[in-house]
């Protein structure tokens, strides 16, 4: 099989399946189509990843129009790694989420799944393309679909949340478009590789610097980097469970990837740092986010919102790794990008199951729930341990790498900050575990049953993955290292 020919279908399958999905009647067929598209995209992404790791970069020019005229898909270890995460997460979330969708969105499911596929295709398109205008187009596809998906939430506040995200997301996309415009005016190309070649000559140009600034801010909004995170908690809280779980595991990860792609590949690492103090800015915002997110999470009274603020903190960890501008640091970023997808995916799936069973995400309705729903909440607790970073889980591997990167970069004081902020995660997870198990179930609480195996099996697969990749780290650490080398332009095998 020629992987290069198949690779574009990772994006094309969901993109084409989306419109078809609208035409399908009923509840079963649209879901089936979405599931099949995600699974086939996953299979192709798996082959692509294997091919890229062994044989290096794949390139595909659409319509055989060679760049710079045509759009080129350019897949190296970094995008292949992220594409693998997105397709894997979409597959498992769809396999899990059907019962929750049946309850939360009883009507017009075909348009819901169509929007889901479009958001999915958009994220993949951002990841795989090698053309910066194409990045903008796919960003808009995925964002518009996501706004609509969030608005599907049962709670009327979902509409406000979607609107807020729409405002913030549009500002971000506009900033991005302005930045891309600046770069195009200066260089006359939209292809990432050609930009990388032409930009060093224009390093001193104020227009280039402004372009970079617009792009960084634009993506930081999509990434929910503190303090540009305001859209995220509401969006995650009120969106349908399936959407929340999927977005939490993928959307911010894609934004981080593409931000790093711009900062490190399109602009050279040392340029981005020289033009503006990006490394310092990232480090400061990341650390502020780590503390603020965790701190706010401690006081939340809604499970989904608590996890959302925890995500704001975790984005901080990912950005912090990249701010060291070393191979180890960016490896830590990519590693946590993947691992946090697994962790938050599992946590939001468990939260979704709880919401499905008790019809509420408020913590006070969950007192003593551990004895009633032992399988769901044991899964939640184990994923929580992974979030804290207890070995042998993926969270531990992430933390190990992040601390290594900080020591390696000579930033010992950052180690201290990482450790203190990760102890904040202990506080909110321990609070939840205590609430679920150590408190008695109020006598007047409604009768609740454990969820069906259809919901539990995917959750436990995800929990198992948290432990499996915490012990067998070949795929994650290997992939993240290759991704970091690819994005920093270090030749494969040239690890210092």
């Amino acid at each position: 099989m020629n992987v290069t020919e198949w690779m574009p279908f990772i994006v094309l399958i969901p993109l084409i399946a989306g419109p078809i999905c609208i035409l399908l009647p009923g509840q079963r067929l649209p879901w089936l189509l979405a599931m099949l598209s995600a699974a086939s995209a996953l299979i192709i992404a798996g082959f692509t990843f294997a091919e890229v790791i062994t044989n290096g970069t794949l390139r595909y020019a659409f319509g055989n129009w060679q760049p710079p005229i045509g759009i080129e898909y350019r897949v190296d270890a970094a995008n292949a790694f992220v594409a693998l995460l997105i397709t894997g997460m979409a597959s498992i979330m769809l396999a899990w989420g059907k019962p929750t969708v049946d309850v939360e969105i009883p009507e017009r499911q075909s348009s819901f799944y169509a929007l889901f596929l479009l958001a999915f295709a958009g994220l993949l398109g951002i990841t795989l393309t090698g053309d910066i205008f194409n990045v903008f187009v796919f960003l808009e596809i995925s964002s518009l679909a996501t706004y609509a998906l969030i608005a599907h939430g049962q709670d009327r506040r979902a509409l406000v949340a979607a609107f807020r995200y729409l405002m913030m997301g549009t500002v971000g996309a506009t900033f991005l478009l302005i930045g891309i415009g600046f770069l195009y005016i200066m260089t006359g190309t939209l292809n990432m590789m050609e930009l990388a070649e032409r930009l060093p000559a224009l390093a001193d140009s104020r227009a280039t610097q402004v372009g970079l600034a617009f792009i960084v801010v634009g993506f930081s909004i999509k990434l929910a980097l503190f303090p540009m995170h305001h859209w995220l908690p509401n969006a995650y809280t009120y969106a349908p469970s399936l959407v929340t779980a999927f977005l939490a595991a993928t959307a911010t990860k894609v934004a981080l990837y593409v931000l790093l792609r711009f900062v490190f590949t399109v602009f050279a690492p040392d340029y981005s740092d020289a033009a503006m103090p990006l490394a310092i800015a990232f480090a400061v915002l990341a650390i502020a986010g780590m503390f603020a997110g965790s701190w706010i999470a401690i006081f939340q009274k809604n499970l989904k919102r608590l996890l959302a603020y925890s995500s704001v903190a975790q984005v901080g960890y990912m950005v912090l790794g990249a701010s060291f501008v070393t191979v180890v640091g960016v490896t830590a970023s990519f590693l946590h990008l993947f691992n946090h997808g697994l962790i938050k995916g599992a946590l939001f799936m468990a939260a979704g199951i709880v919401f499905h069973q008790i019809g509420s995400a408020r913590l006070e309705d969950m007192r003593g729930l551990g004895r009633v729903m032992p399988w769901t909440l044991t899964g939640f607790a184990l994923a929580g341990l992974s979030l804290i970073g207890i070995p042998p889980t993926v969270g531990f591997v992430s933390k190990w790498y992040l601390i290594s990167a900080a020591i390696d970069a000579g930033q010992t004081w950052i180690v201290v900050l990482i450790l203190i902020s990760s102890l904040l995660a202990v506080v909110y997870i321990a609070k939840l575990i205590e609430l679920f198990w150590m408190q008695p179930r109020p006598a007047d609480s409604p009768v609740v049953q454990e969820a069906s195996p259809a919901l539990l099996i995917p959750l436990w697969l995800m929990v198992f993955a948290n432990f499996y990749f915490g012990i067998d780290t070949r795929l994650t650490v290997g992939g993240a290292t290759a991704a970091a080398q690819a994005i920093l332009g270090v030749p494969v095998g040239g690890l210092p």
Binding site: L385, V397, W400, I403, L419, V426, A430, E434, M438, T473
Partner: protein, 490 residues
């Protein structure tokens, strides 16, 4: 003598309690099946641990590399003499603690026995994992599993007091291990490229600046919070809100011994005795351990609650072992290793007795124990023997370990430490013998309460008699422990 026992791989030994825990948890709603698994799990575990002994005695303990967690950093097992002794101690006492725990929980009317016994088993599996670790990372993994698995046990009764106690417990253990031990470990790995336990240590003056080495010692000794070095000892008294079987097996044996075992291992195999004495913070940490030993004894004397007194006594006795390790001479290190064993038997006896007294009479405080000896003679005699062992008087095993500790301190020229050992022994007498004397010599303070008291059920009484007997057996069998340990110290 032990040749008939098959030697299985170290991983299989560690997995037995985990499998047992899974079975117990799955059978939680069927009391008969659940109890059956509780009874059965410690037996194959004990036999499997015992099966490792011949190889360790022959100087070739089992080794097993599992997976590379990170490039160049493997999770693996290598059974060394010290770990062998810890595993033997934990597995032997688990055999006795299981009937005690079941008897206690049922008699005291606790619910959620399935969850309790499953976590109990996981804790023992984690202890075995710690004992058999080949490197610091493996040790750390099981160390954290041990912390997490004991949290539900401490919070078991679920009322506000136990939730608060459990919160202090888990917070202190996680803050120290995540905040101090983890960065120390990453740092050592960055500096040396290995975390394997090696005879003579892996750190040396060439690899690290003097300041870095000194800081690492502080980070690791405080980071191993389970060793309860002051000021990070508060979790141990806090853990006393747990049902007594937890205090007995876990907070007198498995958890705290895991702490001092980690300290001994880190001192012997990460720093090395030669390197550690060159560190600037070494005298400070040594005298902090001595201070903990004395201060905890002084606090123990003030406690009227029997379990609280025993808890502070444990803090003090753990500091003996840390002191033994930090004296950095072979005799003291061996003495520290032996004291793990002797104190384990002695203190579990005392806790078993404390639980039996509570079950038999409802008494929790020492001042209420007057005249109890006549109603509960077996328990109080066992308490007396256990107390002798913790104090370090013949004919109990505690005598030998303390003798080696004092001899070691003398040979190292630390006469202040020798004096502190002596003073602390006097304090031990001061807080452990009064309960016995009150029980046997004073007339009952509360006639009605004492008159209603009776011996605890046999499921509790037999284990505590056996462990008391064990301390006496160890007096005569101490040579075997010495021979097992002496190759461990270069």
């Amino acid at each position: 003598m032990l040749d008939w026992i098959p030697t299985v791989s170290p991983l299989s030994v560690v997995l037995i309690p985990f499998i047992g825990a899974a079975l117990i948890a799955l059978a939680a709603s069927r009391p008969f099946l659940r109890d059956l698994f509780c009874w059965l799990t410690p037996i194959p575990f004990f036999i499997a641990v015992l099966g490792q002994l011949p190889n360790v005695l022959a100087g070739a303990g089992g080794t097993q590399a599992l997976v590379a967690l990170l490039p160049g950093l493997e999770i693996g097992f290598a059974i060394k003499p010290l770990g062998m002794m810890f595993a033997l101690l934990a597995s032997t006492l688990w055999l006795l603690a299981t009937p005690y725990a079941l008897g206690y929980l049922k008699h005291a009317g606790h619910s959620n026995i399935g969850r309790f016994m499953a976590c109990y088993a996981i804790a023992l599996g984690a202890a075995a994992g710690i004992a058999f670790s080949e490197n610091l990372l493996t040790l750390y993994i099981f160390y954290e599993i041990l912390s997490i698995s004991t949290y539900p046990l401490v919070a078991h009764s679920g009322d506000k007091t136990s939730r608060d106690g459990a919160r202090t417990y888990i917070a202190l253990l996680l803050v120290t291990s995540v905040g101090l031990m983890l960065p120390a470990m990453v740092w050592i790995w960055q500096a040396t490229g290995t975390l394997s336990f090696t005879s003579g240590g892996i750190l040396s003056g060439e690899m690290l600046s003097p300041a870095a080495g000194a800081l690492l010692l502080v980070l690791l000794l405080f980071g191993i919070g389970k060793a309860a070095l002051m000021p990070f000892h508060r979790w141990l008294p806090a853990a006393m809100v747990a049902p007594t079987p937890v205090s007995a097996l876990l907070h007198a044996v498995a958890v705290v011994k895991a702490g001092v075992f980690s300290v001994l291992t880190v001192v012997l195999y990460i720093f090395g005795l030669d390197y550690i004495v060159t560190l600037a913070t070494h005298p400070f940490m040594l005298y902090l351990a001595v201070f903990t030993m004395l201060a905890a004894s002084l606090v123990a004397i003030q406690q009227d609650n029997l379990k609280a007194r025993l808890a502070y006594s444990t803090v003090s006795q753990l500091a003996y072992i840390v002191t033994g390790a930090l004296l950095a001479v072979d005799l003291a290190a061996i003495g520290g290793g032996m004291h793990m064993l002797m104190h384990g038997f002695g203190k579990i006896t005392l806790f078993f007795c404390a639980g039996a007294i509570y079950l038999g009479s409802g008494i929790k405080t020492i001042s209420a124990m007057d005249g109890l000896g006549r109603r509960m003679p077996v328990t109080m005699i066992a308490f007396f023997i256990g107390a002798l062992c913790v104090i370090g008087l013949p004919p109990t095993g505690g005598f030998w370990s303390k003798l080696y500790l004092v001899t070691g301190a003398w040979s190292a020229g630390h006469y202040v430490v020798v004096g502190a050992f002596m003073l602390s022994t006097l304090l031990n007498i001061g807080y452990l013998l009064p309960p016995v004397m009150r029980a046997f010599l004073k007339p009952p303070a509360d006639e009605q309460k004492i008159a209603k008291a009776k011996e605890a059920p046999l499921l509790c009484l037999i284990p505590l008699s056996l462990t008391a007997l064990g301390t006496i057996v160890l007096f005569f069998a101490a040579g075997a422990a010495f021979n097992l340990l002496s190759p461990a110290i270069p």
